[in-house]
């Protein structure tokens, strides 16, 4: 111990000689980028939340009234409940569906079925469609006019039309369907890559051990995918929490507030009601929720030794 610190001491003068030594100069560009493009906006939003700032531009004073008013807003409860349902169902739906398609594609490739690349590409196209366009596509499909796409098809099959968007409960389900449809591709790609990196010998060992297909999924694939599933869930959750473009063009948050989620509520507060302070308070709430959920997920991340 003594020897070591002695050596360190002897070395330190030469190290100090150059101001460019040490890790800091190397980290500086990244720190600057993060600081300017991420940290500063967050801090500024935090500051704005403690003001009465408005886009209409009256004089800014510092106050906690904006935050208190937002928390006391009777709509917030509905909006948070909507957000929980929308995010929860979207994350579960996207991860499960993405996993199912990824397993299917991997299986298909192993059996050398033709068209697997095409399948992957088709699924991916949903992902590259902008959210607003996605909302418009689905609003055509869900359109309840006599010429609406899905209801027309149902009528051909003698099934009574469904109130996809005008019934508040259905509207939420329809919005989730539209969002899952678009987001599944992301989960599929992440999980596809993760499945491909599982050592195939594990499946052979399991086969020799007599594991049935569902046992191989449950005891080999899923545990091996754990890290990917959790990282994927974190990303999808944050992405879904921030989704409002698809909703805005599909239902606009309606009927009433049936599909108004926190991000859309925040957007409306700032850009429709011009309440910059209130919107900042809401975005802080969103940040807290995202961070909280990410931390909860992180608890389930496997320890490094188990990944190997």
């Amino acid at each position: 111990m003594n020897k070591l610190s002695g050596a360190a001491l002897r070395q330190s003068p030469t190290r100090r000689a150059s101001p460019l030594s040490g890790p800091l100069p190397w980290l500086l560009p990244v720190l600057l980028m993060i600081g300017v493009f991420y940290l500063y906006p967050i801090l500024d939003a935090l500051r704005l939340a403690f003001t009465n700032a408005s886009l209409i531009g009256r004089e800014e004073t510092y106050t906690t009234r904006s935050i208190l008013a937002m928390l006391a807003n009777p709509a917030l409860g509905t909006v948070l409940r909507n957000t929980a349902v929308f995010t929860g169902a979207s994350v579960i739906g996207q991860v499960l569906l993405g996993l199912a398609i990824a397993l299917l594609v991997v299986r298909g490739e192993r059996n050398r079925l033709p068209g697997m690349l095409a399948l992957r590409t088709i699924v991916l196209t949903a992902w590259v469609i902008p959210g607003v366009a996605n909302g418009i596509i689905w609003s055509m499909l869900f359109n309840e006019a006599p010429y609406g796409a899905i209801n027309s098809a149902l009528r051909l099959l003698d099934i009574p039309p469904v109130a996809w968007l005008s019934n508040p409960a259905n509207a939420m389900i329809s919005t989730i369907i539209a969002n899952v449809w678009q987001g599944t591709a992301f989960s599929m790609i992440v999980l596809y890559a993760a499945i491909k990196s599982i050592d195939p010998v594990l499946y052979e060992a399991a086969a020799v051990d007599g594991a049935r297909p569902w046992e191989r999924l449950w005891f080999i694939t899923l545990p091996q995918l754990r890290a990917a599933l959790i990282v994927n869930a974190i990303l999808v959750t944050i992405q879904t929490l921030n989704t409002f473009d698809a909703i805005i063009s599909l239902t606009g948050g309606g009927p009433g507030r049936a599909t108004e989620v926190l991000s859309l509520f925040t957007y409306n507060t700032v850009f429709y009601s011009y309440d910059l302070a209130g919107g900042s308070a809401l975005s802080m709430l969103m940040l807290l929720i995202s961070l909280g959920l990410a931390c909860v997920y992180a608890l389930f991340l496997p320890r490094p030794e188990a990944i190997r």
Binding site: D199, V201, L202, E204, A205, A206, A207, V208, D209, G210, A211, R212, E215, F219, I220, P223, Q224, R226, P302, P304, E305, A306, I307, R308
Partner: protein, 365 residues
Amino acid sequence: MAPVSLRGLGKSYDGQEAVRGIDLEIAEHEFVVLVGPSGCGKSTTLRMIAGLETISSGELRIGDRVVNALPPGERDVAMVFQNYALYPHMTVGQNIAFGLRRRNLSRQQVREAVADAARLLEIEPLLKRRPGALSGGQRQRVAMGRAIVRRPKVFLFDEPLSNLDARLRTQMRTEIKRLHQEVPTTTIYVTHDQVEAMTMADRVVVMKDGAIEQVGPPLEVYRNPRTRFVAEFIGSPAMNFFDGRLVAEGDGLAFRMDAGPALTIPPERRAAYGPIVGEKLTLGLRPEALAIVPRGETPHLAATTRLVEPLGVETLVYFDAPGASGCARLSPDRAPRAGEPIALGLDPAMMHLIRPDTGAVVPWN
């Protein structure tokens, strides 16, 4: 525990034959080693037995059942993989117990079975750890524990020792042998290492280009290789080869080396070699068939020492002779120094005559 029978077993990928016409009867409790260079089809054969590769042709029986169409799990075989294939997210205990899932055992029975296997392999302290925290040798033992715990009809080993260092390899070799004695089970073991094959096998199966070259007990194969390939592959250092011609000499026969002395054929072989007098042949002599003789003695092979490897109990001497080079296994007190010219006596009793065109060893007994 059951005999295994391979009849005309073959495997082809996209019309390319990787394994063809494998006929092999493996007795109950027998320890058979498939050995050959990489690409010879030994692993494919093993994987067909395991059920990991479909069988393109032929018939495979385990016990009295034809198992061609059965999935691996229903063949009652256990396999140890080259890189162990332990389930990384399970503890050692769970890894070992995994194969018992289908046995309808009580929790207590599973615990006992795992404990027994762990005791046998001396890995009891590791049961709660995960594979990531184990050394290579420990993983190897766990992989074997996973196989043993199921008491399968057949053990399959796919190059299980190739990832270990030399010392561990030797140790695990005896370990596997010991296990086989304690838990006698039909075992099929694949390796490219002929030392493993020689030391472990009840019978060795030498394979080349997807077909069996020779089957037999290790010493039998060593002493009486049927082809030049087997002669060369089995035994280390490899057999020495000298080109020459079989000629009549007086009332006997002799092999006249193209560049060296003539070797008198032992009388008991004369009848067998009679029909091939006059043909060009290759003489095969293992390193122990060569010995240093006084220079005057005839016949001898004059050579120059290139390299001397003292191994303690014996010394290997690599030499260059006209038209050939080779290796002699000598006793240490008679070993020459490198660069020294030597006279090598050749023991005709240990000779093999090989047809250069087919590579077949001419049988004589």
